[in-house]
């Protein structure tokens, strides 16, 4: 009962990923945690979207929902998720197993935890290839070698026989990327892939992802809390706060004319080179809300300088500022024009 799917039959016109009204609630604890609250987004083929936000904003939970990685007994998911025209939430176990890695695959933050310590990295890639594609071991090995060359691992033949602990952090992340690309997925999901890396290594991995994207025509959803990393790789940015996308638009728009007060505050609160010595940073007062106890209206309202009573009463609708720029805010017309976009 090997459920090898005929993925070729899927209409090539379907977007790489569509998420509609996704809600994810974790019910394992004392009170339900509403981690994702009505997230909708569309990823075009060949597009790179960065989901940015602080911890607890729901960016990783959204990403993991695309592969249904949450424990089913403790998670309620509603809404709709389609990857290349396939309904992910409707898949049975074997379809899901064939889907993961073949159509969509994930790069994790900590390759040392994601890779199996007792198998060589080559064996892990070969296993993944043979799991999805009917090829001999020799063919799978040749393919693994090609993948290692593609992700620029020096002396790839020798490295295939290495174990994860024998490699440096940057090399392990390259292995992780090779493993994710092993079966030619259409959609690559990257969960903070460079956060654990050193600065000089981080930029290498970011540029590698950018290069692979354009060479292989991948569609990528890239989760990060680092705005700089998002600017380096993404075409579009979606900013998340308390389980919602509060603003979405192309990179230039978000960096230069953010319209949601949270995005504006996030960009202005960064320490950067052009700040005068001894000047104080612009800050957002307070802390992100408790996801088990969300306020009825805009979740950012308690920290927002523009909020009034209307913001605190009912959920805020997404406002289209242009066809490609949306913000979930009632006050987008009234805010002062932000500075943003400095180096």
């Amino acid at each position: 009962m090997n459920a090898v799917l005929d993925f070729n039959t899927v209409a090539a016109s379907a977007p790489a990923a569509v998420i509609e009204h996704l809600r994810v609630t974790f019910t394992g604890g004392a009170s339900p945690v509403r981690a994702v609250n009505d997230v909708s987004l569309t990823l075009k083929r060949g597009e790179t979207l960065a989901l940015i936000g602080e911890s607890g904003s729901g960016k990783s939970v959204t990403l993991r929902s695309l592969l249904r990685l949450h424990p089913p007994k403790k998670t309620q998911i509603s809404g709709r998720i389609e990857v290349s025209g396939r309904d992910v939430l409707a898949m049975n176990t074997s379809t899901l197993a064939a889907f993961r890695g073949r159509v969509a695959s994930m790069i994790f933050q900590e390759p040392l935890l994601a890779l199996d310590p007792v198998y060589s990295v080559g064996d892990q890639i070969i296993e993944s290839i043979q799991r999805h594609i009917k090829v001999s071991r020799a063919e799978a090995h040749a393919r693994a070698l090609k993948l290692f060359e593609q992700v620029r691992i020096p002396s790839p033949e020798r490295r295939l026989a290495a174990y994860p602990h024998e490699m440096s952090g940057g090399m392990r992340q390259r292995v992780m990327i090779a493993l994710a690309l092993a079966c030619d997925p259409e959609l690559l999901l990257a969960d903070e892939p460079t956060t654990a890396l050193d600065a000089t290594v981080q930029i290498q991995i970011l540029l590698l992802l950018r290069e692979l994207q354009s060479r292989l025509g991948l569609s990528i959803i890239f989760v990060t809390h680092d705005i700089g990393a998002a600017v380096e790789v993404a075409d579009r940015i979606a900013v998340m706060y308390a389980g919602q996308i509060v603003e979405e638009g192309d990179v230039r728009t978000i960096m230069r004319s953010p319209r949601h007060p949270y995005t504006q505050a996030l960009l202005q609160s960064r320490a950067h080179g052009s700040l005068a010595k001894g000047s104080r940073l612009a800050t957002i007062g307070g802390a992100p809300p408790d996801l088990a106890n969300l306020p009825p209206g805009c979740a950012f309202a308690p920290r927002c300088n523009f909020a009034d009573d209307g913001c605190k009463q009912s959920e805020i609708a997404l406002v289209s500022l242009t066809p490609k720029h949306h913000a979930r805010c009632r006050k987008t017309e009234q805010e002062s024009p932000p500075s943003g976009g400095e180096g």
Binding site: G169, T200, R210, H225, G228, V231, E232, A265, A271, H272
Partner: protein
């Protein structure tokens, strides 16, 4: 120039490596002959990648681990000598760690934690509690609400405020901040950075600020020390280092910062590969294996710290003038100024 408040001379820490039988098999050269001085009232930032020895340096300064060689002098007195016993030194120099949770005792209320230090130094219990409540107020936590809370009842940002209050409770002159804001979300990080600047002014403090985040270091530091594999690569005034980094490593590190401008993304990684293992560091200049300017001599000759501008900017690279693409005239000028530091 005034006498420095803290002087570090030829500080060295080698951790022995042993096999299963306890026989010595090698050593990690975590910190190797590091010398610098901390001026009263300044903030010195230490940057570098993992394994460069920045945290080991902090722990050596605090005498949390014993150095293999080298001296630490506080106001000219050797730390740990009869002139300056450790207990008195620890009243003068305090540290804030990255992990705000594991550095607080989970069984003590935050008020008790903060009051503990002063009591050890002879302050009465009643006065120590008064001081703790005052400090809670100073770090932005209302004592009425927070004094009786336990660490698990606080957010990460609040816990780090408690750690800062605890460090200040013994009225130190120097505070060592080891990645103290690295675990915080950006919006909270900005709040804590502002707090650190306010407290520095209010209590006349000197900071040693260790971080891997170059933006934050640039924002908060008066001078910056760049470390690579246990050694000082470059040391100088913040704007001098950021405007004209002289060491090829500093140049690569600064160029590795992600761009914030979507129209000027990074084109190519400034350097390839990961930092080498400090167990068997490269011979000669430790950066020569990754340096694009490296010459044959670089793998043989260790590089002493040279003065580029006396008292302002030091670099451990003989070829820095050529590397920095300085004009011939300024190269000669720099050459004339060359005097070996710490001779």
């Amino acid at each position: 120039m005034n006498a420095p408040i803290l002087e570090v001379k030829h500080l060295t820490k080698h951790f022995p490596l042993k096999n299963a039988l306890g026989a010595k098999t090698g050593q990690v050269r975590a910190v190797d002959d590091v010398s610098f001085a901390l001026q009263k009232g300044e903030t010195l930032g230490i940057v570098g990648e993992s394994g460069c020895g920045k945290s080991t340096t902090a722990r050596l300064l605090m005498q949390l681990i014993a150095p293999t060689a080298g001296d630490v002098l506080f106001e000219g007195k050797a730390v740990g000598s009869s002139e300056l016993p450790l207990k008195e030194f620890h009243r003068q120099v305090q540290m804030v760690f990255q992990d705000s949770y594991s550095s607080l005792n989970p069984r003590l209320t935050v008020e008790t934690s903060i009051a503990f230090g002063p009591q050890m130094h002879g302050v009465s219990a009643r006065d120590a509690v008064v001081r703790a409540r005052d400090l809670l107020d100073r770090v932005g936590l209302d004592p009425k609400r927070f004094a009786g809370r336990y660490p698990h009842e606080l957010s990460g940002g609040q816990r780090q405020r408690v750690n800062i209050a605890r460090a200040l409770a013994v009225q130190p002159r120097i505070v060592i901040l080891d990645e103290a804001v690295s675990a915080l979300d950006k919006s909270v990080e900005a709040q804590v950075l502002n707090l650190l600047l306010d407290l520095k002014d209010a209590f006349d403090l000197t900071y040693l600020f260790i971080s891997h985040d170059l933006n934050v270091v640039r924002y908060i530091s008066d001078r910056v020390m760049v470390m690579y594999l246990g050694q000082v690569a470059e040391l100088g005034e913040t704007e001098s280092i950021f405007a004209t980094p002289l060491h090829p490593y500093s140049q690569a590190l600064l160029a590795s910062m992600p761009s914030m401008d979507p129209d000027h993304r990074t084109e190519a990684p400034p350097i390839a590969g990961d930092p080498p293992n400090p167990i068997n560091p490269p011979s000669g200049c430790r950066f020569h294996t990754r340096c694009k300017f490296a010459q044959a001599a670089c793998s043989v000759n260790a590089q002493p710290l040279l003065a580029y501008k006396a008292n302002q900017h030091y670099v451990a690279c003989e070829f820095f003038a050529a590397n920095a693409h300085l004009s011939i005239a300024s190269t000669e000028k720099a050459a004339a100024e060359l005097t070996e530091v710490h001779a």
